[in-house]
Structure formats: structure tokens, C-alpha cells
Symmetry: D3
Subunit: 324 residues, 6 copies
């Protein structure tokens, strides 16, 4: 139980690799900097499902060739030239079996991270951040990194339909398990009508730092990110970045499960992510909650999520170039 | 564990009742003939999800008033006048927890059937026919009724992603558990490239009776249904009807998870179902695999599934009128 | 009040003429055989609106050139060569003013018919058949022609939301006003759960002839049409044809307001219409209930309605050629 | 004539109440603060119809439970805890009968307001603001409140298709009837190419205050809202808020009848509405022109309109809390 | 000029192979029976484009695993077990350069056929049948095989926009070049209003055999296919099968460029193709005119085209098994 | 070869003129200020096609009457009153014949410009800017005007699929041919991962001025436009404006071929274009890459492109009024 396998030919795969990156095996990542892996999982979604098709859609949300080259226009840096990036395919998960799925993802992420490689996970619903960041913590140490979390929702629910696992609870599970203590969380983009005050109170007790859209509207995004960076770097040097695509306004990201109006614009998100990946030491990341059936004929949410990955990779490459 | 509750106000409900039928509680069905219940469940779907929205979509696939009256134009019979039909809402199921969900559905169906009431279940993916027909068998006796199964697929897989439960395996589970032995199965509409020969061989050993689309094309539908009826009634007097909406050609039922070209037309299905419900003693039924996100702006699959329910109810009412 | 004007440049027009037919003015139709006119009207629709865009969509549902030539492949007859066919544009109707709109349509149809021209109306919802067939009756005489009506619904409601006019009542208004007595009606394709038995009883008293889909399924379409033709021609020589696109199964005509599963196939309808237009003396026709917003990216319902018009025109041309 | 009735089970209702609020009867609102009511009306729409489905879609544009609780994340205030909010269902309007429909809506709104209750109307097209604000004026006094109007269009047309009523004319009818004099209007978000200069001149003569998008782009939204608030509060203390969803850019609100590019972002609208509802004494409000058929699979316009209602309610609750 | 190359990683590829067949190189097909190749080409389309995405969509229109096994349920034959089937990827064609593209396709097909392999081409618009069947003729001899052509249209236009090449002219080019003389053509499913009589006359002069939908409706499909088979086999033993997906009714195949109502049903096409491939010696085939952007969220046209390929392969496998 | 003709009744036309402008013939433009012409061309598109329907969709993206009047709300200027604007229809181009199409467009544009008329071209993919701006240069002189280019992409590729023409190369062709030297280019909105550094280096050598989104985000749009204007006006007094609709974020312009997240908002683009057209002497313009099949049911991209045209026209009219 709980042993991960991956495949490029699963039911939900499109058989491409991300940007044409080389394929690799889960346990053979020597010399690799970043391993992209898909988690076609949506049985933790409380509303509109479809995120199981997220990994395939994010990989295909791209009109460039599959030649492992993405020279960034503004910086002239190509992350595929600076970093050794591979795609290990998608986890083969047992449909509708929650605990077993979560255990297998954690096993796989741990095996990636323990080879000194940064796992970059294509979701899947947000349930997976529990095993994603948890698996990274198993390797880098509990409490030893910040979790920068972009989302419309705090995802700190206690239970979901009476159960511990699901896309409303991953951050709670991370905190309670000690993998990522509350004071290591920076949340950006929260809004709406959830969670209720008792959970917000619990979040305060855990010393989570949250930046809601109201604060971003009033102060501007740049000073908020300045402060978030400072906070994230207090006491640790590493970070995991988790991007729920619903942090972006539904107008620009309709293909998602629980759209909440009033979010960031696409360009605010992309610009901020590249900056964070440049200024932080990223040891893991995920992009979650892309649900293609709700995306419309233009596929704009899948394409946006593809660029989320590219901007994170580019920021990491810029950091490496600057350090050289 | 395994105790069912139902609600009209769950996450996937549209709060209407089917055709405006009276609401009722699961354990208070005295005098009731048919209890409609929704199973918003799609974590057994191997491909395109969305069947969790099936119960709401089937209930709203209807442009008539919500006044519990559906006088059938060709027969002048109104099933809501002849039968006491209620809607008990949707099962409240734990998302992504397979075994617990199946257990709760079986508990709920058993509680309905044990009050002498016919459960008519709005799915949900086909996983649920295991607890649906299984729960009915727990009350009416294992092996004591025929299962007439409309589908493009046999649903007799051994396991699915290494697990016993899922929408590819319910008929196997029913047979293996003895609830519905193989020789009590009549399958209509099978086609395509699944299951593989070893499973087909197993099906033959179980003495399942299958009518593929090739046979229907060559012999015509009416003689096939004549024969199916005769077979279904050999040795027993009762029947459970399970309708996977993908038995209809994808051109007329696009909103489903695993569409297989070459199926029945809508009018063939509706006409046949009314005849079966008139000529058989129906003790349970389900309509499954309606996936609204894939249905397009016209919502034609949801509307078709609504009529599947109405034609079954009308056949039952015709039988009652004829017997009177 | 009640004076019709038409335009090719109204809010709902696409400015094309049907098949590139010549434009003409409502009162200047000398030498014309058929005048096509649009009625962008949907304020009589009880459910999904959008039929106001029907005339534009039917005109553009066509990948041929706009050169007023449609040589029919099986017959080699081009109706535009045999008949003088013009397009007078769309009625300019006051949005949401029911009685005034109906009065204006009737005025316009009467002015067309009184010049010896066959009006062929592109709807619009079915409300308009009251002024369409009524206006024709004002010219050709009340009770002096058969009305062959293709539809899933009888459209014989007494009132609609407490009012006399609407898309559920036109046939009743025609009968009550004497324009088309009940025994001059032939209805083909009825099905579903409306109207209720008291209205069906009233229809029988009026001696309306109805062929439901159940009868068509059991007897076959050809003998039903044979009989319908015989009935339509008993005592009169003229006919008005009214085609509600929802007579076709929703799988092949999703873009409509009240889709009812179990209908005719596209090819059955097209084939039958051409035959009727060849064997009857058509003095008016309409095609109604095309609602583009519900049609999906393929626009198949609009395209089908375009062919409904072409097949009627071709049958009329075949009749003229045969008579020559 | 002109007597309103409401229902939760009408043709266009989804049978849910807004956010699970208690149901109530139109004339039995004792102790109620806000009564939500739907107006499924689109026969005043000049272009793309479908707003008749607005009330149902706005109510269902929500992934939270139906338990009458919406704790606002940034303020920790739950409007359902602070205010007594009920849902009286949808008006039962005669389809396509303009004047009677308008009369019935005005009757219903008057009956709500005369019980000291704030009507919050879910449209429907913008025609309804004439009876909405007019009915409120019949109770609170003509000229006794400001009308803050968010819209891409001024809606001050003289007539529409030669008739007085329709979605292009409500503001003119309110001014001419004295219910809301021109100098009590504040309009925000206007843009595009309508109305023509003679109507703009008439608007100036009426002393309407209009803030176009060009001014908002040049000055910034906050100073414009500051000034608008000051103006709205000069001489009166009460306000009616009317939100045409097309004030938002079509990129974020595609599901509407007359989309005009270049509008507000979702977050600008939501933030501004909450502020207005907090700083003004709201005595009535409506949200109009949501047309679901044009909204795409993500339903983002319906969801946005749902949040428009919630932010108004939250501002009202904040005001009450601050006053306590 | 005119030298073909293929790729699995081109702009329009989904990088999968058909059904998981092994990849192969164009010039290294020793031991292969059938080579599947995509032609992402739509610059010969006169109306709705998008067929360039046909090859990718046909390959992905499949919910089975990518393990090169498709056991046919009715026959228990798996074509991948009986035949050596490979996928050589997609032609790399110069966008918008008609003559060069056609030359490259012909070169590629010739190279496949000259190795004794059956090319099965995934289109692409129908322009490509000129180089497809032409390339086969270059190897097997001009006039040495029948061309069985399923289509709504005859595709025998003289020129298209003044040019010789395009999707309206391939059959004319084949006849004029002598590759496939007119008397070797059998066309099934023609209907509508094109081509005009002078072209129909030319077709008769060429002794093309055409079965229109009107004849199929009147005689039934089976006797028509019996006769077509007899005709196809008179004088030759080999055949090329060309399937334009628009031979199927638009209700069941909306995702195409020039939909023509009134066509075959999906099951009629699939059943007939398998029979033909069993009874004829197939030396080449293509499936064309699948245009994904017009297909709607259910992707039913792509899925149907996938099954068209499978049924042809199965018929070929049945023939081989029967001959053994 | 290379002789342009235009039509209002071509395959891709909607037969309307833009805003109801008068129709005119290509060679009879005496007294005309601006001639609108469509180029239904997409065989230079490397990815999602459909731009051939751009001209029809842009013309119909409009809910105003077709009466050649568009009074601009903020300025009270009606460009149709100040300028003589006509619509000459669409070029009749040979499908899939690249060089001939480009030659014909250039011929047509030259004939328009040589009469002293400003051509305003509705695309079509971006390939057409080569003949559009090239044809203008043939009349006004090579190197004698600035090209202000809004786009996500630089469009300076060397070749495309080994060929010189296509939508990735027009700017390179203009520079190399001398029609528009590199130092006359101002590009606004670039972003993403193309072109690669060697092409960026070539662009620098050509002294092209590019403003990427990163710079716009950091400096603000207004100072960037100030500087761009200054640059465009250094040494010349005339300008050609080319607007690729994908300069706008895909959230607000999904209906395009190569959407790149992170772009301008609709209101930023509209506001800037009007300013440019007011402050520059516009001698030609085009709006390209609108692809309706990818636009969703709300048609928001087509509507936006319609407003792009109107804002350019309005700026030109403001300039004329100010000069008077």
C-alpha cells in the first residue's frame, strides 16, 4: 500500500511531456533539477469535478513546439537550458480511493525530493498539496520551509463530509501534522465567504499570514508581495509554492471547480510567481484545480496554468543564473 | 459506518423534486409505491467525470410544471395519479471515499425496499448499481429477480485500478456476491472493444444473456426485446432495470462519461423501457452515467434521462391499470 | 395598429436573403411565386427563448453561395429556376408587445397571400402560426385548406399564463376562430406528456387527426404519411405546412425551446416534407422554434431548418415541373 | 390586472432560495429586513434574450451550502445573522405581455416596501427597474432617494420599437414620472456609442450625474466613488442601487444581452458595492441582465451576480453592526 | 520539393499513437501490415476550418488504454493481434502552401505503399484523398482498384476558387489523372444541393456509381451495400475506402466543415465499413473532415471517427483470420 | 495573377457592412476617407484556425442598428458624420494558395490607398499585415511612416514551416523589403516565450522599439504610450496601426489562434487606440487574429474587435474635428 508508480500512458495522460522535456523514471533522477509529475486526481473536489484532466490539459495548453526550449522573452533566459528539467509522467492512482491515493502521492514526492530534485506537481484538486508539501517536508524537514499559497480559499477546513482528506482541508492537515507549521504559511488572494469565523480564529492562533484581496486592492499588490517575501524568509531559506488557479478571477480562469469572483488578474499572478521563484529557494511547487470541462472552447485556463509553470521555472533559472 | 442519510439541499442538489413529487423521508414511506432518490456519486468513473451532477440535471431536464402530474400523451395515463411516487432527495455521500459511499447507498436502498417500496435511483456513475440492485436483493432475496441492463458496456470487469469497486465492475460484484446470478442478467445494447475475450468467456460461463448492437441491427429490435422478455421471466416474476444512458448513441446522448458510437436511438430506448415496465414486475431501477458538463448548451442528455424515468413510471402505471 | 413593415437590416437580421434570393417589398410581389419572410419573435416562448434569432440563423445555415441557385442532387431540379422566389426581409415587431406583434404579422401575411403569393415564414416561436395560417385563411377562405402540422406538441392549449396568445395555443386559436377547423388538421410526431387528457378530448371533439410517434414506430412512417396525405386531401385541395423543428429528436435538433426526446430523424422529416410539397398544393408554410443559443458550436439545428425550407421549395418545384 | 403573485415553483425557478434563506409570502413579511424576489422577465430585451433564467441562475451560482449563512471572510460579518433575509420566490408574470408584467412587478414591490422591507430583485432585464424603483418610490416618496446605477448604458431612451417600456427606457420613465428625478441619479460605468447626443443633452438637462469609464480610467475609481457618494447623499439619506451586470467587462461577464467592452473588473464592482451599501441607507436594489445561455460552461456571470447580491447584503449588515 | 517527413511532436499532434500502436519511421516498415499516418491539413476547406486538428482528435477520441489492443466485442478478434499496425506520426506540412503540401503527402503515401503496407490516413480535409489514393495508385497501378467513397458530397468539382486543388475537387483530379477512373468509383450517402447538374452529367459520363440517401431510404441500406460490393469487385480485387465523416447526419457528427442534414446514422456507417473491409481487399483508406472546434464538449465526432478506423481495421483482421 | 476582387456575398461574409456603412467598389472611392475591407484568410495560422470568419464576426459583433451612426458617448463625436467611411466587402481569395492570396491583398490595398483613402482591414490572420502595410507603403513611400503594432508576439520570424509567408513572419518581410524599416516599428504588449534570442537580437539590430508587458506592469501604461508616441513621430508624420487581438489577455479575448496569458485589459487597449488615432496621422490599420470558433457563446472577442475599429475611427474623427 502507498507505493507510487507513474506512467506517460495512463487514462488521463495526453502522452506529451511538459514542453517536450525528457521523460524520466521516478527513481532515476540523477543530475535532475526539477521533475514535473501529474496527479490526475479529483475525488477530493466538493463541487465541479474534472481536475483529473488537469495534468493533460496543462501539458497541452501550449502552441510552441515540443522541443524543451522556452526562451523567456523579457529575460532571454531559457529555463530548459539552465536547469535539467524532466517529466516523469502521471501518478497511477486508484480512482475513488482517497487514502490510498494520498499515500501513493506522498511516496512518490518523497522519492523525488530525496534525490535532491524539486518536484513540480500538475494537479489535480487541492487535496494533493497535503502529500505534495508533506512529502517534501519528509525530506527537507518539518517546519524547515515556508509555504506560499495562492488561492481564493484558505483550505483549512477541519473535515469535509466527515472525513479528514479532501480539497478543503490540506493546509490543516499540513499544520496539524507539523509538516508545515502555521507560522510558515503565507496566503495570497483569499476572498469570499469561507471559511467561517471559528476557522479564521484557528488560523490566527496558528499564526498563518493571510493577504486577502481587499487588502491587495487597498494597498496594491507590490507592497503586499514585498511584505510576504520578507515574512516567508524569516527564519528559513526554502519555500514551497502552491498555486490554486482559482486565485485568478473567474473571468480569466473559468475552468475550475469553485470559482470565486474578485481575484487577481492573470498578469499579476504570472509576474508575482516569477519574482517569488527568483527571490526564494523553491524546493517544491504545485498548480492545482484546473478543470477543463468548464473551460470553454478557448481553453484559456489550461493555457494560463501552463504559463504558471513556465514562470516559476523561469524565476528558478534566473536565480541560478544570478548566483553563477 | 454505512448509514445513509438523504437531503434536498446538498451540494449537488437543485432542491427540486422529480416532477414536483412530494418530498418524503427515507424511513417514512408508508403507502408509497415508488421512491426516487439521487446518488450524486462519480468517484467510480474511469474517464470523464461529472455524473455527480446527474441527479440535479435529470430532475431539472423538464419544461413542465412542478405539480406532480405527467399525463402520458399516447396512453392518457398519469403515473402520478396511479402510483404514489415520492422523492426522498439525494444521498449525502463522503466524497472520494468509495467503500463507505457504496455501503451507505446499499443501506439506504435496503431501507426503502424493506418498506415495500420500489427504489428508482438517479445516478451517479454505474458503480451504484452494485448497492442499488444489491440492496434490493437483500430484501427480495438473492437470485429472485432478473436484471435487465441497458448499456454499451458489460460492466463485468474484475477489478478497476486494482480495486474491486468502480463503474466497470458492478455486474461482476453482483454475480460474485450471489445477489444477482449470471443467468438472471439480460444485457441490451453492448458494443465496442471492451471487455476482452477472457471476461466475455467468464460472462458466458455465468450464463449471462447479452444482445449486442450487431445482433439488434441484423434481427431488428422488436424480436430481440421479445426474446429478452421471455428470458427475463423464466423462473422469476420480478425485475430490476438498470439504464446506462450511454446505451443511446452519443449523437443523442453526448453528456456521458464513456460514449461509444453506434447505439440505440432515443425513441428505441424510450419505447422499449415503457414496454418492459408494463410487462415486468419492476422492483427497482436506476438511470446512470449522465454527465452534464459534456452535454452542450441544449442539455439533451439530461432531458433524455428525465424521460427515461417517466417512461418507466408510465409502464408501471399501465401495468397497475391493466391489473385493476 | 397592426400594420406590418419589413426590413433587411433589423436588430436580428443577418442582412442576407435566403439562399441569395432577390429582395422584394411586401406590397410589390407581382410575378412572385413564393415570398420568404422572417418573424423574429420569441415573446410567446414558455421556456428557453432565442427564437428571435431564428430567421437570421436559418438564412445563414448554409455553406453554398448566395446566388439563388440550389439544384437538388437527387432530382436535378432547382427551385429557384422553376419558381420566382423572393425574400422580403424580417417583420419589424415591437418587442414584448404580444397582441400588436400578432396583428402586424397577420397583416403582412394577408398582404402577401392576397397577391397570389405563397408566404413561407421563418420563425420565431410557434405563436406565429396563428397569424401565419390565419392570414392565409383570410385570403383563401376559412376552412378551405388542410393544415399539416409537424411537432412534438399539439399546441392546442386553451390559455398560456392566463392569456390567449403564446406558443402553446396557436392551433386552438385557429380552430376557435374558424380559420382552420379541427377536421382540417393533420398532426405528425406528437409525443411526451402534454397536453393533458381534457385537451386531448377537446382535440378529438374537433376531429383533429394526430399521428403520435408511438404509432409511427409501430406502423412505420411511410404508411402513416400515405394516410395523412389522403386525409389532408379529403374535401380540399390546398394545404398549409407548419414545421416545428422540435418534431425532430433533440439529438439532431438541440437548438430549440422545448426539446422532447424520441422524435423523427432529420432524414425522415426532409424526405416527408419534399413528398408533401410535391403531392399537395401548398399555399403557405412556416418553420419555427429554432433557438440558436442552445444549438452548440456546430449550428446543426439552424442548418437543418435551412434544409427544411429547401426541401419544401423543391417539392413545390417538382409539382410545377410535373404539371407542365 | 396588475396584481402580483410569486412562486418557488414556476417555469424558470430552480426551487432553491437564495443562499438557503427562509421562504416567505409576499404579504407576510413581519420582522423581515430584506426580501429577495426574482423577476423572470426578458421581453424587454432588445438583443440576446435569456434573462428570464437570471433569477434561477443567480440563486444557483453558488457552491456553498443552502444553510442561510455567508460569513464574509474579510469582515467576519454574516449578513444572514445580522439581518432577517427571506426569499419570496419569483413573480409569476404573463409571458410577452409587457404592460401587465410591469404593473404586476410594481404591485409586488410596493407590497414588499410598504411593510418596511427592502426589496432586492433578481432580474430579468433592465425594464424591471422602472417598477422596482417606482414601487419603492410609491412607498418612500417620489424624489426622496438617490438611484445609484451601475451600467454600461444610460437606459434613458425615449421609446423602444415605438413603445414606452423596455430595457432601454426605464430611467427615462422613472424621471418623467417623478419617481426618481434626474438630479437624484448617479450613473457609473457608462461607455460605448449609445445613447445619441440628443438624449445625452436631455440627461444633462435633467441634471443626471454620470461617470463614464473614460473618467474612471483617468481619475481612478476611488475618487470617483468618493464623489458619487457625496453627490448621492446631498439632500436625501436613502438610496436604491441598480446593478446591470454589463457594467463589468464582457471578459468577466459574458453572459449578458448587450455586452460592451471596456468595463469595470469584477473586483472593482464587488468592492464598490459593499462600500456603497455600508455608507448609504439602501431601501431597494436590483441585479439585472444576467443571461445564462451566453455564459459558457463555467457559469461565471451567474456566479458573479450571486456575489453582487452577497456584497450588497454584507455592506448593509456592516452598516447595521456599526450603528449598534 | 515534395519530400514528406513525419513527426509525432508537430504543432497539431497529441503525441499519442493511435490506440497505442508502435511508432515507426516512414521508410522502415518491414513486416508492417497497416501504417497509420496523420495529415493535419485544412487549407483546402471552403467553409469551417479546423480539420488540421483532426489527426490529434481522432487519436485521442478513445477512453481505452494505449496498449495496442482493441478486442472487438462481437467478433472477439483484436486487429492489433492479427495485423502488424504502426503509427508513423503526422506529415509535417507547410501551412497554407497547397501544391507543396499535396506533393509531400503523395510522396509519403507512395513510400508507404511501395513497402507493401496499407496506408490509413487520418485527415485533414478531403483534399488529401487526391494524394492518398493517387499515391496508392502510383504503386498498385492506375485503374487497378475500386474507390469506395462515403460522403454527403461528390467532391467532383472542376475547380475551387479558380484553383485545381481543394476539398471539393479530389475525385475529379483522381479521374482526370487516370489514377482512379470514373467507373471504379462507388459513392454512398450523397445528398443535398451540390454539385450542379452539369457536374452530375459529367459524373455519369465517367460511369461513376452513386447511391444517394434518397435511394438508401427507399431501398434500405443492406441491398444498396450488396450491390455496391458487387460493383466494386467487378474487374478488380482491390479497394481504397475514403470516409468523409459528414456522410453521417450532423446530429451525430456535428464537428465537421460542411454538415449536410439527412445522413447515415453512426451505427449504419460502422456496420457497413466493417463489412466492406472484410469483403474487399483494402489497400488504402482515409477518414477526413473531422473539425474539433465545431464538435461541442462531448467530442462525439472525434470519437466516432476513431471507431471508423477501428471498424475498418477489424474488418481487415476478420478477412485475414477467415483466409487463414 | 494578383488582381484583387471584393464581394459582399462571399462564403465567409455575413453580407452586412460594418455598422451599416455604405457599400462601395474597390476602384470607385472618390470622396471617401476610410475604406473598410475584410480579408477572410487563415491559411497562415500556425495553430487554431478560424480567422477566416473574423471579418463576418467583427461586422456582426454589434447590437446597434445598421444605420451608419456611432455617436461616441464620451466625446459626442460620430465618426460616420465626420468622415466618409465605406465598406468594400471582403477580398475573394483562393483558399490555401498563400502567395496568390498575399499578392491579391497587396493589389487591393494599393488600389485603395492610391485613391487617397485609408484602408482599414478586418482580418484574417496576421500574415495579411505584410500586404496591408506593404500596399500602403507602395503608395505613401517605403520608410515614410511608423508602424504601431499591438501584439503578444513580435511576428518577426524568419520563416514558417520553411516558407517565407505566414502569420509569424509579416514584420520581418516588411523590414527586409524596406517597406517599413525596423526603426519605424513600435511594438506594444509583447510577452511569453517567442521569438528566441537570436531573433530578438536581430530585432535590436533593426532598431525596433518594443514595449513588453513586464515593462508596462512596472512603469504603467500611460508613460509607455507617451514614449511610444514620441518615438513614432520622430522623423515621420504618418502611421499604420496593426492590432492583433491577442494583445489583450485571453480572459477577455479567448477567440484567437495563439492566446498568451498576461496581456492588456480591453479598456486599456480601447483607450490607447483612440488616443493614438487622435494624435497620429493614421494612413492604414488592421485588426487581426479574431477566431470565432474559440470564442464561446458570448462572442466577446468579436465584439471587442468591433470596438477596436470604432475607437480607431473615433480617434481619427476627433483629430479631424480638432483640426477644423
Amino acid at each position: 500500500m502507498g507505493t507510487a508508480t507513474t506512467t506517460h500512458d495512463g487514462d488521463f495522460a495526453n502522452r506529451a511531456t511538459f514542453a517536450g522535456a525528457d521523460r524520466a523514471q521516478l527513481d532515476d533522477l540523477s543530475g535532475v533539477d526539477v521533475a514535473i509529475v501529474g496527479a490526475p486526481f479529483d475525488w477530493g473536489t466538493t463541487n465541479r469535478p474534472g481536475a483529473r484532466y488537469g495534468p493533460a490539459a496543462i501539458r497541452s495548453g501550449d502552441y510552441f513546439g515540443a522541443h524543451a526550449s522556452r526562451p523567456h522573452l523579457p529575460t532571454a533566459i531559457d529555463p530548459f537550458a539552465e536547469l535539467r528539467i524532466v517529466d516523469v509522467g502521471d501518478f497511477e492512482l486508484p480512482l475513488g480511493y482517497m487514502e490510498e491515493s494520498v499515500a501513493q502521492i506522498r511516496d512518490g514526492i518523497t522519492r523525488i525530493a530525496s534525490q535532491g530534485v524539486v518536484p513540480l506537481v500538475l494537479g489535480g484538486d487541492h487535496t494533493i498539496t497535503f502529500p505534495n508539501a508533506g512529502g517534501v517536508a519528509d525530506v527537507h524537514g518539518h517546519g524547515e520551509f515556508a509555504l506560499v499559497h495562492f488561492d481564493a480559499h484558505a483550505d483549512t477546513g477541519d473535515t469535509q463530509h466527515g472525513q479528514l482528506l479532501g480539497h478543503a482541508t490540506p493546509m490543516r492537515r499540513l499544520i496539524e501534522s507539523g509538516a508545515v507549521p502555521g507560522h510558515r504559511f503565507v496566503q495570497i488572494g483569499l476572498r469570499g465567504y469561507w471559511p467561517p469565523p471559528d476557522i479564521v480564529e484557528w488560523m490566527r492562533e496558528q499564526e498563518m499570514r493571510t493577504y486577502m484581496m481587499t487588502e491587495i486592492l487597498e494597498r496594491g499588490l507590490t507592497p503586499v508581495v514585498d511584505e510576504a517575501l520578507e515574512y516567508a524568509l524569516s527564519g528559513v531559506s526554502k519555500a514551497f509554492i502552491s498555486v490554486d488557479i482559482d486565485v485568478v478571477d473567474p473571468g480569466m480562469a473559468p475552468g475550475t471547480g469553485t470559482p470565486e469572483p474578485g481575484g487577481l488578474t492573470s498578469r499579476e499572478l504570472l509576474h508575482t510567481l516569477r519574482r517569488l521563484a527568483r527571490e526564494l529557494n523553491v524546493i517544491g511547487a504545485d498548480v492545482v484545480e484546473v478543470s477543463p470541462p468548464y473551460d470553454g472552447p478557448g481553453d484559456i485556463t489550461s493555457i494560463l496554468a501552463n504559463r504558471v509553470v513556465l514562470e516559476i521555472l523561469n524565476g528558478m533559472a534566473e536565480r541560478k543564473v544570478a548566483a553563477a
